[in-house]
Symmetry: C2
Subunit: 192 residues, 2 copies
Amino acid sequence: MKSEISRKEEIQITAAKLFTEKGYNAVSMRDLALALGIKASSLYNHIQSKQEILSLIIITVGEHFTEGILEIINSESGPLEKLKQTIKLHVHISLHYKDAIGCLNSNWHNLEEPDLANLKKMREDYEENVRLLIRACKKDKQLKSLNEEVMLYSVLSTLRSVYQWSNKTEGLNEEELVAELQESLLEGLVEN
Amino acid sequence: MKSEISRKEEIQITAAKLFTEKGYNAVSMRDLALALGIKASSLYNHIQSKQEILSLIIITVGEHFTEGILEIINSESGPLEKLKQTIKLHVHISLHYKDAIGCLNSNWHNLEEPDLANLKKMREDYEENVRLLIRACKKDKQLKSLNEEVMLYSVLSTLRSVYQWSNKTEGLNEEELVAELQESLLEGLVEN
DNA sequence: GTCTATAAAATGATAGAC
DNA sequence: GTCTATCATTTTATAGAC
């Protein structure tokens, strides 16, 4: 009854790890094949090209973010609660798709068209949604009247790096990490 | 009287830009030479290898961070003021060495030994210094008793991304950007 | 200091046997 | 589905003329 994992998925999982560690161009099809215990030419029975592997990894995780943020935006909560939900969403994806996110972060510029344009659109839309949330919070006097872009990227850049350092906070479970980040990012570090 | 810029420096400046945009492995010596208006073989009159170019770019900017943080640590200020000075330092370097920092961030894993080990040591020491600052602030009750690693990477990951988005805050000069970041990161975004 | 020519190695991908 | 063998291309780097 357990869901079988196809060779194609196996390739994506291994590739995501290697691409994250060494970079897309630094990983040859021979390297990837060796990590899977087969020959490079055998890979082409499952995928069409090296580029297709990268595309599958990155677009899939990009869609997770897109779906997640839309669900939050369309919910009934207030803007500050939605911002907190965005932090939760980002942590959740970061912990469950670590390698794919690492691959996205390090290798998105190796995507070719039309996937590159597709990803850029998804990323811009995501950023714009968070920007609008921040603006709505400011209007409601729930956030300070600081520069919007500084606030936006303070939050986003921290969230985007979670996959890199979450292994250093292993005393915290997912829920606790979310709570700590919500507090740190929104309420600040300084004791009042 | 103006300081002459050598061809070797010109190569580093152009390479830093290209490496940041496309990635180290995606930029061939032909690409780099073309951007400089010469042939690839001519590059070797000024540098020994492609790897040397990367090393010069990254190690140089790494040393700026190392020198800067040591100056702060050895100053007479209290820990919270030192943390604020670290934010100022990071912004200053981010604005003045944008391409080199981009190159460091995207391509450090393409460094070969012993430069890679050298850079990792610099990075770890830098992180440890900021961690100790945060710990000292907590002990003084100037920072909340949140998870140290979460606080550390909230601050560091935002600072490390400044070069990517500082062009979107062009209404702010350097001093103002520093002030906004000190407020956002330390005091938080939420209105009390 | 730049050029042309070229070496030596690595790369993504295909053909065809099993 | 995997293999061996191979191709076409690109890569970093060197040698030597100007």
